[in-house]
Each structure stands twice: as structure tokens, then as C-alpha cells.
């Protein structure tokens, strides 16, 4: 009747990236090539608060490229917060595509609980 799956988030959806930026009141993402410390990265560019260089998401691979110098050029929690916002928005987008309703609740430990109600056949 029930199963539990744990998932490492991969960032592959432009719409959900934009929604996450709006949710966290960040600048809208842009497409292009961004300079990191000693390199460049091409993809969807997101500017995180307090970060010297942006995070660049390759939506083909789902991976991010960034250079925060182990936190000295940008706090890890800002990237984590973005990933959390992305996962929430992506879940909502996919559930609504299926016609399901979604409710969201913030939890005391900082996590966010989403409940998707799966309707019966009409």
C-alpha cells in the first residue's frame, strides 16, 4: 500500500527554475555563459544572495556548476535553499499537470511538506 523513495534533486526544468527564483525573490534567471573564478559555465544562470559568482544549471544533465570556495565566496545554504524551492515548485507543476491538488506546509525543522491529493476516477 505504501512505499518511500528518496531522491537527489536534479535541476532540469526552466519553468521550475523561474518559479523558484520568484518564490525566493531572486533576480529572474538568464541563459548564457557566466564567468566563475577561473572558468566559465554555460546554462541557466541564477544569482544567489551574497555569492560572488552565480550558480549555472545545465538542464540537460541536471547538474550545477558554481565556485563558492567552500563557502567563503557564497554560503552553501543559499544554494540548498534554491534547490529546496526548485523541488517544491517542480512538484507543484507536475502534480497540477496531472490535475491533482497540492497543499504546502512548512515544518519546524526547515523542511517543506507537500501533500498531493490523487482524485478518484470521475
Amino acid at each position: 500500500m505504501s512505499h518511500i523513495v528518496e531522491i537527489k534533486t536534479e535541476v532540469r526544468d526552466e519553468t521550475a527554475i523561474s518559479a523558484a527564483c520568484q518564490r525566493l525573490k531572486l533576480e529572474a534567471p538568464t541563459q548564457g555563459t557566466a564567468k566563475l573564478f577561473s572558468d566559465t559555465a554555460t546554462g541557466t544562470i541564477v544569482k544567489l544572495p551574497g555569492w560572488r559568482y552565480p550558480a549555472v544549471f545545465d538542464t540537460q544533465s541536471g547538474q550545477a556548476r558554481f565556485d563558492n570556495y567552500e563557502g567563503r565566496w557564497g554560503e552553501q545554504r543559499q544554494l540548498d535553499r534554491f534547490l529546496q524551492g526548485y523541488a517544491v515548485e517542480k512538484t507543484k507543476i507536475e502534480a497540477r499537470k496531472k490535475g491533482h491538488t497540492v497543499t504546502e506546509q512548512s515544518q519546524a525543522d526547515g523542511s517543506i511538506k507537500l501533500t498531493v491529493s490523487v482524485g478518484g476516477a470521475a
Binding site: M1, V88, A95, K113
Partner: protein
């Protein structure tokens, strides 16, 4: 009819845990697959005791010929 829900916990580091509730047998696996695939890569999966209760009952029925 019981309420069927998919519960997703999004941790503060962005990792997620998807759990189904109220489904019959393996229907839960099909029901939540679209969200699991959309979010990223599975790092673990386990069936909860409820899942096995249903499986055990079916096996007992088969073995008992009934």
C-alpha cells in the same frame, strides 16, 4: 473510499522523500512515479509494512489454494 495521497518532504538541502498513502497493492508505485522521475535521481527505495501486508495476504491466499 480511502483518500489517496502522495506526500513529498523537501528537506532544507533540496533532497526529497516521496511517500504514498492509501493505495492498494503496487498501485502506489505507479501513482508516484511521475513525481519521482521529475525530481531527479533515486537514492533509495523501500516498501513500508503496509505494502508487505497486502503482498503476504495474497501469497497466503495462493498457497492455501483459496
Amino acid at each position: 473510499m480511502s483518500t489517496r495521497t502522495i506526500e513529498i518532504i523537501v528537506e532544507s538541502n533540496g533532497s526529497t522523500r516521496v511517500q504514498t498513502r492509501g493505495f492498494t497493492g503496487s498501485a502506489c508505485i505507479d501513482a508516484s512515479r511521475f513525481i519521482e522521475e521529475a525530481l531527479g535521481k533515486r537514492t533509495s527505495e523501500r516498501k513500508t509494512p503496509e505494502f508487505f501486508q497486502v503482498a503476504d495476504e495474497r501469497q497466503r491466499l495462493r498457497e492455501g489454494g483459496g
